[in-house]
Point group: C2
Chain length 106, copies 2
């Protein structure tokens, strides 16, 4: 099964999990408490995030703490870079203005 970070962040629950554990590590049960879904479902999401190395585990007794490997998020940033150059250019700002005028005329 080929997975990458773009597929990983496609699911809204996974994005929410990422945000949730960005600042502090959490156990699957604690994470699941934040969603209207079962623990097993969250566990599956965590497995996918772990496979993509977006998340890392840390066993502590019978509990497993999951935390974000934030540097992995940079991969998205790197892909975005090519578009950032475009949207920051003056030409594109002009284009936006023109399309806004077009809309107002309609």
């Amino acid at each position: 099964m080929r997975r990458d970070i773009f597929q990983a962040i496609a699911d809204p629950t996974r994005r929410a999990i990422i945000t949730l554990i960005a600042l502090q590590a959490m156990t699957p049960n604690a994470i699941a408490d934040n969603f209207n879904t079962t623990r097993q479902s969250v566990s599956k999401h965590l497995r996918i995030l772990t496979e993509c190395e977006i998340v890392k585990q840390e066993q502590q007794g019978r509990e497993i703490y999951y935390s974000l490997q934030v540097q992995k998020m940079k991969e998205i940033d790197i892909w975005l870079e090519q578009f950032r150059k475009i949207w920051e250019s003056r030409f594109n700002q002009l284009d936006t203005v023109l399309s806004t005028i077009k809309k107002q005329k309609k």
Copy 2:
């Protein structure tokens, strides 16, 4: 069918299409020439991208030119913002160093 930009960029072909038409508008046939897939398959991807307003159409005779609405890419950037703050912090750089040392010990 609920779609958002994160689902749209999950597919590698769609990401390639986005990059391809980022700088110049192209017709479906011209786009399809760049991939090992059928025109109809590309057409489906374009429909999804259009639904998400990542791409806009411009009819010209019987041809339809597709181009990127680059400002839509900012939505990804906005989501990334929360993590950028974390990965740019000194604390996290230190964390990375520590985990690297950990790996070397193993």
